[in-house]
Amino acid sequence: MLKENVISSEKHCFHCGDDIIAQQYIQNNKRFCCSGCKTIYEILTAHNLSNYYVYNKIPGKTQSKATSNFDYLEVPQVVSKLVDFEDEIKTIVTLYIPAIHCSSCIWLLEHLHLLQSGILQSRVDFLKKQVSITFKNDETNLKQLAQLLSSIGYEPLISLQDIVKKGQSSKTERSLITKIAVAGFCFGNVMLLSFPDYFGLGDFEREFKNFFGWLNLAFSLPVVLYSGREYFISAWTNLKAKRLNLDFPLALGILVMFLRSAYEIISQTGAGFVDTLCGLVFFLLVGKWMQERTFHHISFERDYRSYFPVAVTTINEGVERPIPLSDLKTGDRILIRSQEILPADAILLNGEAEIDFSFVTGESIPVKKTLGEIIYAGGRQLSGSIEMEVLKPVSQSYLTQLWNNSAFIESKKRIKTFSDTASRYFSIVLLVIALGAGIFWISTDPSKALASFTAVLIIACPCALALSSPFTLAAVLSVFDKNRFYLKNTAVVEELARINTYVFDKTGTITNPNAAGLQFNGTIIDAQMQLISDLARNSGHLLSRELTKFINKPAIYSVQEYTEKIGRGISGKVNGNDVKLGSSTFLNLPLKSSSEGSAVHVMINNVYVGFFTIRQQWRNGFKELMFKLNTQADLHLLSGDHNHEKKQLIPFFQDSSKLHFEQSPQDKLDYIQQLQKEGKKVLMFGDGLNDSGALKQSDLGVAITDNINNFSPGCDAILDGLSFHKIPQFIQQAKDAVKVIRMSFVISLMYNTAGLYFAVQGLLSPLMAAILMPLSTITIILFTSLAVRLFAHKNKLL
């Protein structure tokens, strides 16, 4: 056991656990993969915080990514938008930190006061990945705080849109829980007070009957007026709009039950149905809570504002100054550093621009821009700083204009659920039966007319019916959750079952952004591969890292005379050999037009050996997925990229007319609209900002991401890339869920019919109602959750 530990600690970084590939960084007998990890270890040990490594083995995350510039946190306008509370002495701020993932993170972040004495308190909310920090204004500030967090590997993600929730959603949940508590409290007490009557009272105890009745009536008041209020409001607004939803028979049932109970108790003719009434409201609210409960804290409503930076550095007469994005004007000179995102359309004035547009246009290969060229907003600068002049304000750039489209302004139409449709017929049938029973008894025995009329409305109150959807769908949601498929709400499940057309984006959606397949063209021997690998190890460029991973050899030689020309190539002496890697211009080769994207050419001792080409790799299980979906649905591809991969993709889609390349964000939106006009139910899979319009327009927009804490565009559901191959199972599960809802409707209707048999005869006793209502409810809860789990096992999702 101990030995294994020794071996693993030699190969893996003590801080983050990554393989140690390049040179080792050693401190206190511990090995680190990079200077970032080592620095964090040094900071923590210096401040007596090495318990961080005790609670968990390898608690850190890799530090290879460059840290951001936090200068903008000195701008008062930005700070005032971010902080929760501020006075002369202290400030409270809540920051979202995606790196929070284990108990060591909690421990370290709650001991920040040991690192910086100005921090008074820090509290972590683990599930929301937030930390709330109180600090003294005269000892530190927000910028220093952000830098401190970054220096220990917990860089906060700061955005002006919705990353940190300001308690808005929890308020509605709190009020619902309060309502449930009131209903539950009254339900319990009423049940206790109703029991004596159900079991029959002796002559002696009769005097209590009135007392119990009045108490019951008192308990029912808060249930009807407070807990059940929403049902009356919803039924009334729907009725005014000439709609019959499930809340109508529910509200009618509650009202009739209350009135009849009040009448019976006041006139001392019976015990009333207070017990059933309180139980009904209690169970209904629990169902509602199940439906609205969120298992996760993911935002589904993001737009470009959460992707763009909060502020940008402007240059005015040689002075660099950060300003908030909203203050950016046409003609401003801005500085974009390496790995920063360009927030507005601008002209390149200075520097070497190599821009990654994959998120904006779907183009998979970084684009080089020359001085004077216009660069569209949303691109990420890959290497070195560039200076630019802003052409258009942020809200009117090529990309952000998409959000002015009507698809974003009109709220998406509500998904029509099965229970909506069914409840309309249910309400009509219910009223017909109640009136029929009433009229029948008026002509035969008028004393029973009102009793049977109200009894029908009471017993047929669709409690079990109202619970079948929320309990089924909530169970499905939690099954999906376990499989890393996160839905915005329960109605999405039903919509998923109806989908018959799938539209895919290419880059990042069906291709895996983290894995590019490399291929060597030419002849090469193993020893030469070793030289290439040793040279590439020294470079931080994306392609070099891919190359080292692809060759997968341990380091042997060190490199002398290493030089790197950013964005062009690297060279050096490895074991006495001159090795050069890079573009054809870097190696002074005649320009070769490569049809398959970028290439890395290799030259050893001035002899051209060959070149590596990069191929996008399909996500795991892509082929199987497409062949499975092909048999049951219509598949389309909408890509913003060039069509150099068209040939490989044709076999997956039915014919080439369904593949569309070089599509602008607007084109994608229009294409979805066209499909919908043909009467198709469209599901869009996308990942980038350029898919935002299509995701919004489609019947169901699913964003695919490899890290759910990273940015993903506004959508109805978020799918983790690891579960991409499970899509057919998810769809089957959704279809099965609709089946379960239908079956439970039948079951609850059977209970209703049994109750109605007594109700129409005017024979319904309070005891019968008090047994039938909870019994049907519990049957439905058990049936739906068991059936969903059973189907999940069948679909291999559990």
């Binding site: 101990l2 530990n5 020794v6 600690s9 003590f14 206190n28 007998n29 511990k30 007596n48 915080l49 090495s50 318990n51 490594y53 005790v54 609670y55 108990s103 909690i106 421990w107 709650e110 509290r123 972590v124 909310d125 683990f126 599930l127 929301k128 929890s170 709190r174 829980i177 309060t178 508590a181 009131v182 409290f185 319990g188 007490n189 007070l193 002696f204 209590f208 007392f211 108490l215």
Partner: protein
């Protein structure tokens, strides 16, 4: 048997107190984060030098 009025009164009062305690709990935000406090309670208060020593040997 008049005692039963008093007893029922007491039981309802007691139940009401629990209900109010529940309201108080919701309002104070005790349920907003149900995960972190469970982890927090397991941390040691002082910085434990000894444990670090042990883990050093583990990795050395």
């Amino acid at each position: 048997m008049n005692m039963i009025y008093l007893l029922i009164g007491c039981s309802i009062l007691l139940a009401l107190m629990f209900l109010l305690a529940f309201f108080w709990m919701i309002k104070s935000g005790q349920n907003d984060d149900t995960f972190t406090p469970a982890v927090r309670i397991l941390f040691d208060d002082e910085v434990a030098e000894r444990e670090i020593q042990i883990s050093d040997e583990d990795h050395a």
